[in-house]
């Protein structure tokens, strides 16, 4: 659906030149929710703005739905942009227009008839749950409501792609969750491809199918959220996951205190249905190894449950080895921690 090939973006010229993206490649499938996570300054905002050419890359190709956007004339580009909706961190609504008129804006650009506009806007107001606010101005709305207007406006031209530029970063946690739920709902209902950028792992974890980690103007790691989240390879990715759990310090203390000859600390990852199963207690009952829990999490990635537990096994070395082998055989990921 979206293909970025060799995207380089340099701001400024000569000695003031700053490279935001360097030779970045990215491929996004139709109908998926694709997240890009990175620290501020990593180039993620430039990246998403390159997709609809709000930022024109210095080099590289931008393919959206089989069309190379950088080759288009101004008029053709305007045409293509109507198929790409976008929502923003600061909403960017017309302050001089009502909720209704804001949502009608993209339709009026194309000269739709009054009746068509009315039907469409009413549908969208219902979709985002703002029917009773249709005649209010943006300044009379809360942040979450403003973003709902932004979403409705972005959907008005029936786009194939929705770009979300830090769409939840200015919202409180509850509102963030409500907006994410709405995005997920829209994705399922209209089979809309969603690209979102964020600095919050939580956002990725809640709704994304795939994720790319951007750092220093390039993608350092990408894949299914479950893969990247549970088995992070790159330091930056680990950073994001760590900052989400914030348990590094106490865990280290626990591991150090527990170190002994007849013990072994391991990280066990449960995934899907196994998360709620009793594999661990079944296995240790058979092998006679005892265990202490040092750290544990149970959560979900999108709708799939997962658990991660760090335990210390105690018992004869062979018995511990059998326990680990048995757990692996049952389909759990077991990583030995030294």
């Amino acid at each position: 659906m979206i293909n970025l090939k060799g995207i380089t973006k340099v701001y400024g010229k000569g000695s003031h030149a700053a490279t935001a993206l360097s030779g970045l490649n990215l491929s996004i499938e139709k109908g998926e929710i694709f997240g890009v996570i990175g620290h501020s300054g990593a180039g993620k905002s430039t990246l998403i703005r390159c997709i609809n050419l709000l930022e024109r890359p210095t080099e590289g190709e931008v393919w959206v739905d089989g069309v190379e956007l950088t080759k288009l004339s101004q008029g053709q580009l305007q045409e293509q942009r109507r198929k790409i909706g976008m929502i923003f961190q600061h909403f960017n609504l017309l302050s001089s227009a009502t909720v209704y008129d804001n949502i009608a804006f993209p339709l009026r650009l194309t000269g739709s008839s009054r009746a068509d506009i009315d039907t469409k806007v009413k549908d969208l107001l219902a979709l985002v749950g703002l029917e009773e606010h249709r005649d209010k101005y943006p300044s009379q709305l809360s942040g979450g409501q403003k973003q709902r207007v932004g979403i409705a406006r972005a959907l008005a031209s029936d786009p194939d792609v929705l770009l979300c530029d830090e769409a939840t970063s200015a919202l409180d946690p509850q509102t963030t969750d409500a907006i994410l739920k709405l995005l997920l709902d829209i994705n399922k209902r209209f089979h809309l491809t969603i690209v979102l950028i964020t600095h919050e792992m939580h956002v990725i974890q809640s709704i994304c199918d795939r994720v790319a980690v951007i750092h220093g103007g390039g993608i350092v790691e990408q894949g299914k959220v479950t893969e990247v989240f549970l088995k992070p390879q790159h330091e930056v990715t680990r950073d994001f996951i760590r900052s989400e759990s914030q348990n590094e310090g106490p865990l280290r203390t626990a591991l150090d205190a527990a170190a002994g000859d007849n013990s072994q600390a391991v990280k066990i990852t449960f995934f899907g249905e196994k998360t709620y199963g009793s594999a661990l207690s079944n296995v240790v009952r058979e092998t006679g190894v005892s265990f202490a829990i040092l750290h544990g999490t149970i959560s979900t990635i999108k709708d799939v449950p997962y658990g991660q537990m760090i335990v210390r096994f105690e018992g004869p070395a062979e018995a511990i080895a059998v326990t680990i082998a048995e757990l692996t055989a049952q389909g759990l990921e077991v990583e030995v921690i030294s």
Partner: protein, 219 residues
């Protein structure tokens, strides 16, 4: 002080002349200054070097016109005025210099008002496939409306003081009356009344402008 012998007919004529000057010059100032202001705003932001050169030239022209004191501009423009409206005196003769004096001023106010429009909103419209024309008509002008109305108000008030100077080249009006009677003939009464009328006019303009600004402000 003796207000009884006052020539009220002359007062009324002068008031009507002033109003005519303000209405017509105000109208043409907006017709000329608004597009000029939009052009200044758009040219400054262009990526094209040619257009940015045009901006520099336009900007310089506006600055030159604004730096010439109005009373001198008016005199200097007399041949031009005759060319355009056929006369350089009376209400008609004041309109071209008033417009040429006020339009660059108004254009700058328009430019400033447009700059206040949130960049993000313009980008959002670009992202939705709006053309430059649509962005001007549907984003910039509506979003800048309070600022533009404030600009019109300031311009009209400035025009009131310009019309007073227009009397110097035979334009007539309240300002002319105040100078001719109050300054040249020591008839303080007429001057006082002329000043009062001018003050009332400015107050009315300012109040109307402020109300409209308040009405259209949604922030």
């Amino acid at each position: 002080m003796n207000f009884a012998d006052l020539n009220w007919q002359e007062m009324m004529d002068a008031t009507v002349a002033t109003l005519k000057m303000i209405v017509f010059s105000g109208l043409f100032t907006i017709i000329l200054g608004l597009p000029l202001g939009i052009l200044l705003y758009l040219c400054e932001r262009s990526n094209s070097i040619v257009i940015r050169v045009i901006y520099s030239v336009l900007s310089l022209l506006v600055n030159i016109l604004r730096s010439v004191p109005f009373i001198i501009l008016m005199v200097a423009l007399i041949p031009f005025t005759k060319e355009i409206v056929g006369t350089s005196i009376g209400v008609l003769g004041t309109i071209p210099p008033l417009v040429i004096g006020a339009a660059p001023f108004f254009a700058r106010l328009v430019e400033t008002a447009l700059r206040e429009v949130d960049r993000g909103v313009i980008e959002a419209a670009q992202g939705m496939g709006a053309s430059t024309n649509q962005i001007v008509m549907r984003v910039l002008l509506p979003e800048a409306r309070p600022g533009l109305i404030a600009g019109v108000t300031i311009t009209l008030v400035t025009l009131v003081s310009y019309t007073a100077m227009a009397g110097q080249v035979g334009g007539g009006g309240l300002g002319d009356l105040a100078i001719r009677y109050g300054y040249l003939r020591y008839e303080t009464e007429i001057m006082l009344i002329s000043i009062t009328f001018i003050v009332i006019l400015v107050q009315l303009l300012q109040m109307a402008g402020d109300r409209l600004v308040k009405y259209f402000t949604r922030k």
